[in-house]
Symmetry: C2
Subunit: 170 residues, 2 copies
DNA sequence: AATTCTTGCCGCATTTAATGCGGATCACAG
DNA sequence: CTGTGATCCGCATTAAATGCGGCAAGAATT
């Protein structure tokens, strides 16, 4: 029983957490992989690959989704086709007086921001943005300035892209 | 006739190209948006939002996919659930003797590489990788070194993530 | 101004896929 | 050895996607 072990001993509790994730076996991994390649494959089709019935596959997908391992079904879109031609990376040294929480809220709400990570090194945050034109980059920086988030910043433009893909299980 | 215009005049030809992309109207944009949020929505459901019949919606999705504006149907997966806990950015100054094409091939084939862009500034490429552990970062750098791709490099680890999402039309 | 032609849409019929559920099997704990 | 839980299968049901004929609006042609 998980709960008993938990009450007994924190180490065993940790094992149970690990076990919770380990509930995902090779088959789940394979299913997630197949869905990442093409989320429209039928359950029967997937079942043919992993040697399970459609219902069993369905149940596994349900579990993967419920546990958050699969976060959502979506489409990959071409930024250029949607008029977002410019890709840039902005390094930010935060002006902490303006409030780190406010900064995070702003970033999280900004549709142009694709990535924002707290990073090691001389900068506090690394931000990846997609905008329609170069002036979109300027607008973005201007917004950061207006809100007093910037102590210092540096911007790199992406000239071309070798590869750009969301995380996929493999 | 497009072809006649093309033969007449290069400017008109350009207009035709623009027209090709402009074939995507606000409804297509909205549909792509809805699919990005949840690719499993039914055609009827989407049709309800954009005020079209399921068949019309289906036809539009088919066109969006065929034109490449929608690149594929996929799932967003949680890297941590799949054991890829470490996110890092590697800046590379390329040793051009080793061959830029070989570098690109290597990068494109490497499953750990999520992003790789040619960028402005002091570095040639910015690479985003996901690996299971810190030693995975070392392994990656080691591989670049072995192949003589590195003139110089610098690595930033992501300590935490404010937001991380693939491009979505909006 | 009249007439093709094209394009996009609707709505229904058909086909395909997903879902829900009862019963069988297996692993494991008591 | 027996009970318990989890997972699976297979079928019946429900829901969704697909395919196609016909219609209507707008553009191009004459």
């Amino acid at each position: 029983m998980r709960q008993e072990l938990h009450l007994q001993n924190i180490l065993l509790y940790d094992l149970c957490i690990a076990d919770y994730f380990a509930a995902m076996d090779e088959i789940d991994r394979k299913i997630a992989c197949l869905l990442a390649e093409d989320a429209r494959r039928s359950l029967a089709d997937i079942g043919g690959v992993v040697d399970l019935s459609p219902s069993a596959v369905n149940e596994r997908i349900r579990r993967l989704t419920a546990s958050g391992a699969i976060q959502r079904f979506t489409v990959e879109a071409d930024p250029v086709a949607f008029g977002q031609d410019v890709l840039a990376f902005v390094f930010v040294a935060l002006n902490y007086e303006a409030g780190e929480a406010a900064f995070k809220d702003f970033i999280a709400a900004c549709p142009n921001v694709l990535d924002c990570h707290h990073v090691t090194g001389g900068w506090s945050y690394l931000i990846k943005i997609r905008v329609a034109t170069l002036s979109g980059v300027e607008d973005f920086l201007q917004q950061l300035k207006e809100r007093r988030f910037l102590a210092r910043s540096e911007t790199m433009l992406a000239l071309s892209t070798v590869t750009e893909k969301p995380f996929k299980p493999f």
